[in-house]
Symmetry: C2
Subunit: 365 residues, 2 copies
Amino acid sequence: MTSRSLFLLPGDGIGPEAMAEVHKVIAVMNEKESAGFSTDEGLVGGCAYDAHGQAISDADMDKAMAADAVLFGAVGGPKWDAVPYEVRPEAGLLRLRKDMELFANLRPAICYPALANSSSLKQNIVEGLDILIVRELTGGVYFGEPKEIIDLGNGQKRGIDTQVYDTYEIERISAVAFELARTRRNEVCSMEKRNVMKSGVLWNEVVTATHKARFSDVKLSHMLADAGGMQLVRWPKQFDVIVTDNLFGDMLSDIAAMLTGSLGMLPSASLGAPDPKTGKRKALYEPVHGSAPDIAGQGIANPIAMIASFAMCLRYSFNMVAEADRLEAAIATVLDKGLRTGDIMSDGCQQITTAEMGDAIVAAY
Amino acid sequence: MTSRSLFLLPGDGIGPEAMAEVHKVIAVMNEKESAGFSTDEGLVGGCAYDAHGQAISDADMDKAMAADAVLFGAVGGPKWDAVPYEVRPEAGLLRLRKDMELFANLRPAICYPALANSSSLKQNIVEGLDILIVRELTGGVYFGEPKEIIDLGNGQKRGIDTQVYDTYEIERISAVAFELARTRRNEVCSMEKRNVMKSGVLWNEVVTATHKARFSDVKLSHMLADAGGMQLVRWPKQFDVIVTDNLFGDMLSDIAAMLTGSLGMLPSASLGAPDPKTGKRKALYEPVHGSAPDIAGQGIANPIAMIASFAMCLRYSFNMVAEADRLEAAIATVLDKGLRTGDIMSDGCQQITTAEMGDAIVAAY
Ligand SMILES: CC(C)[C@H](C(=O)O)[C@@H](O)C(=O)O
Ligand SMILES: CC(C)[C@H](C(=O)O)[C@@H](O)C(=O)O
């Protein structure tokens, strides 16, 4: 029997509630389809800090490195607002990304038909929207050195962060974007601020060269990141795949997610390079939404983004394409039936709990 | 008679066409109100590069430094895409900001009632929207050193930009935001990425301290910049004044502008510190839109943002509050009459040219 190892890091806030629903999906797939998933669970974020003073322990890092795939919930909350910078909840996530070398962050922004109406944008602007943001995840201002606060005396301090990109980093992320575009509408738009940033000049140059050398069949365009943000709001359907750096990707993918009106529904995948021998790639899957501490523990959170992240895991880590399709179809079915958690509730629908949503999706699978 | 010196830098693309309409407003104010405006004109951006190989000449920089206020059109266009980084069109604007020490960029995002319908957002989300983004403009990743591309050999290059903020820079921009909030709805939201950036940690700390020491009557909140972008799209009316750094301000103010559906209408002001002796502050006023090379020279561009920038100039540089109010009212009147340039055209309205729009506003003034 196949054996597939999953390492689960539910984290803080609504993370554990959402992850509990993924457990149900895993159980059903093991039972009915002999999928052979084995699971182990660890701590990340504020709960890890509470347990052992670190945002993720070395032991859990080892397990994450060894697993076939990591499922990640969410981290953070007001409880840990004052913990030291180095051990703040986000540090756990950033360490996972960096140590596992998960340089490619895939963030689909899809508008579920049943929810087109719940966007703050006009329905015709977002209906049928399906874009993919490919964000560089292990470089840029997130990790560049120096990154420090210096005391200058006289009551003055200096905060410094460094944006750094090397050619190979830009090359590999743009290759991922071009490859994915080939499976979609074959268009990539690259976004940077080359009019202000030297890293943007290099970004533009390397994306252009990679395109020319290896992907000239894909349609490539370039946009300044600020103009890109505007265009996302104005007419998002003009885009297929957007490739951009870590910080712009953070901003732009969140905006794209919000456009869809489906924030509680959107998954993401963070992938490493395929191992040259086995072809396997390290991977972490997480919902785009955060830990939502204000509603945590009440059983009302929307588990769909977490379950959809598991669907991405089936697709990208285990090549279980049929199962991924079925799971995504199950989500759509449940929404079409009018079942809703509170965050996506609207007139004429039926409001259900986190657990009921998980059950309904499992039943529709 | 009062004498008020304006230095005009129309720049590239639609800049000159838009500036021509401001000339009409100035003429009428001089004639009918003895406003005493004197004007001189210079080159900036691509046209300056064409004329003398620099994005702005030292002579024009001197004039900008000496004038009571600078009116700036727009810079850039495909013609100059390949000019060296140091003399690219944007370098002229960046030099003006830096040498004039225009650290406070005020970007109102207002939804003109007559245009509420033309936003990509639902009408109830943007109707009546009135937020002010206060963007730091002379620091951060725009100007920090090192800023370079290094050749690493082996076909590898490294692009580096540096985000730097000192305490005093954060203090003075947050003071501007708090002061402006007092003249509005008394609320400031500060945005950074303190969960990832050390400059964000310092930003948060200094804004909080400035608030406590001098502005505790103003309501202050903090938001991560990515969440802030989302909230702008979800429910922008939750904000009054937003204060943020140079790069986040670039992204967020463009998004806010696009929300309003009034991009061709939005002005901005870039202000220096008041001179300790005279109380005067250096200032530059520019429309939020760019040079729009695709429609330049056709006489169809919307001059309203440029004229509204002049209204801000009346308000902030010359304390001509009544005149600014009248000019803004004239713009609203013309829109209420259904007169529109092509970019904001809609059913039942009358499409007019750039010059006709300028004439109509002057007539309504
Ligand atoms: C939690 C935080 C560190 C993270 C980021 O900034 O990358 C989050 O906003 C995201 O987009 O995954
Ligand atoms: C033209 C460019 C340098 C500029 C910026 O990035 O600041 C523009 O986008 C703006 O917002 O004024």
